[in-house]
């Protein structure tokens, strides 16, 4: 198992100043990859939920999990790639939309379950949610030249079934 598999790691941590830096610092100091990272407070304001996407072989992921657990601010974490889980990411895309493009763009947005949030005579702003791969597919499906701006939230996720991460 030497593949660099993609892992979605979800962390419950103290909502303290500097907690995010500790996580980010760990990745840079130890030379781990970090593809995306998203963080916000939870229903309990003393806790934050941080979700990150990283790549590595089995040994590296094991170390990442152990090193994260070692951070004093980390309460609990789960590698969502090791369990049945749902992954979601939000993407906002501003596209060129003129002439025949307008109908085509709307149709593609519908196919991918997106919503058009803003319309001008030359552009659409589309909102899309889904797993990262679905968002990638949407970007591949539309004309490359039509893309004016892409904003992605980074992946977040939750385990399926009764499994829940709480302090």
């Amino acid at each position: 198992m030497n593949h660099n598999d993609r892992h979605l790691i979800s962390i419950l941590m103290e909502n303290e100043a500097g907690a995010l830096s500790r996580v980010a610092n760990l990745f840079s100091a130890r030379g781990y990859n970090i593809e995306s990272l998203t963080v916000a407070p939870t229903d309990d304001p003393t806790l934050s939920r941080l979700t990150l996407v990283t790549y590595g072989n089995e040994q590296i992921i094991e170390q990442i999990v152990k090193q994260l657990n070692k951070l004093i601010d980390v309460v609990k974490l789960i590698d969502l790639s090791e369990t049945d889980a749902i992954e979601r990411e939000l993407m906002l895309v501003k596209t060129r939309a003129v002439g025949e493009q307008r109908a085509e763009m709307k149709r593609l947005a519908d196919i991918f379950g997106g919503r058009v949030l803003d319309v001008t005579d030359a552009t659409y702003t589309i909102e899309l949610t889904g797993a990262g791969s679905k968002l990638d597919n949407f970007l591949r499906a539309i004309e490359k030249d039509a893309i004016l701006e892409v904003v992605r939230s980074g992946a977040t996720g939750i385990a399926l079934g009764q499994k829940a991460l709480h302090a």
């Binding site: 500097g18 100091a29 094991e62 657990n69 601010d73 980390v74 302090a167």
Partner: protein, 581 residues
Amino acid sequence: MELITGAEILVRCLKDEGVEYLFGYPGGAVLHIYDALYVQEDVKHILVRHEQAALHAADGYSRACGRPGVALVTSGPGLTNAVTGIANAYMDSIPLVVFSGQVPTALIGNDAFQEVDAVGITRPCVKHNFLVKDVTKLAETVKKAFYIATTGRPGPVLVDLPKDVTIAKTEYHYPKKIKLRSYNPTVKGHAGQIRKAVDLILSAKRPMIYTGGGVILSDGSPELIELTQLLGYPITNTLMGLGAYPATDRQFVGMLGMHGTYEANMAMHHCDVLIAIGARFDDRVTGKLDKFCPTARIVHVDIDPSSISKNVKVDVPIVGSVPNVLRAMISVIRDEKLRSDSEALAHWWRQIDEWRAVKSLSYRHSNEVIKPQYVIEKLYQITEGKAIITSDVGQHQMWAAQYYLFDRPRQWINSGGLGTMGFGLPAAMGAKFAFPDEDVACITGDGSIQMMLQELATMKQYQTPVKIVNLNNGYLGMVRQWQEFFYQKRYCMTYFESLPDFVMLTEAYGHVGMRIEKPGDVEGALREAFAMKDRTVFLDFVTDPSENVFPMIPSGGGQSEMLLAERDEMVSTHHEGMVLL
């Protein structure tokens, strides 16, 4: 209840925590704290001459006695000077609590005078750190700092204190106990894993016990000795682990690793079961990873899960504190009257004794020039092996580790992980504070000693007599050695064309200086120095500048690929993979 200032709260916390010594250096941001220190006598403040020394002294104190070391520095340069000392403690897992002054909260982020982002700068080299913005959180934070520093895998914790917080007032309440939902180190080993480990350990034909600093930090030496003697297995210690098992005992095969003994490294290379305890498979120990213990199944006991299978994949991991886990192992073996394979063990010991017979630590004596190894041997004899020894970093450090036989834990104090030149002298001072009645010697070199020389003044002020054993070869010897071996003797920037007269220099600080140039004078000088119980003595030994540290596994080599000393007669006689100079 009475309202008191943050500064007073801090001092009361230290008192309630039982802090004996506070090593520090004042400055603008910590003036309120110094004022609070002025009016009490419970916590003794030691005024060093450089903040790095405050950290190393607190560190040496902690390594010697096991209690947490405590330091106080001001903001800005006070903190940045302390960073080397903090990183040093972090790499060797030493429990320190460091207080740094900070500019007032209203000025944080304004590039104020003597402002640095202390929490940001130290984040990668502390176990944890805090910025206290509210005086009502101060006492609780101090409690957390001590708790985190001293439990689990120990380490330094920094508490950054803005000046306004130290003058703001609140009631004092120091929590007796603290519980952190996000921090709960595993102490007790998993019973099933312990059982598995015992089975594997007893099935060994060629067992080897390899232990590190974790045994010393956890005070696990008695349990280690009991288990090792119960099993009758050979044992090696890392540089950080020396003293955990008595070096004079027959089962001890010496230090392992880059400058370890031949028998230790060969036994590691050929063992079939490796029992790693409180050690972290550092690159100076393993050499080339894919040649490390190629035939061994590995048991690893460590309190830090992230140390397990980090560099080397292990077969039976056990997370827990060393004494706890070892006691459990001993119980299983004793209760069930389990036995190791005595026939295989006898065979294995015969093999190890053959490796031992190589005498990899022998060196050529000289009547003309002082051999550094000889100085350490004499130091060992004259102190009857009982002194607390600190060292700096370089060749002298390796010779100290090889030729002074440490029979008890916390007797050997050196900078292993970070390799900080300048550590030895302030660490010796710290150790002397912990044990004023013990002989403390700092083994150093002409390079290292000049990095913290100013502490001679502190040692005068507080009357902490230390014997400084300077192996003066005029070179940065370890770097010179590498240049000799790997850079065709191009000695770039490793020769000091100018060195101070250390005797005069020491005397200028009010201590005793001695210069020793002949092998015949070594013993007498050492006796004379140690007879001066209440004086710091600087022994400047002029040693052979061409001497190298052997054995040596060149960086990137495997355990069995050792360079032994320049002994030609051995070229064709010994084992495969051995390269001789």
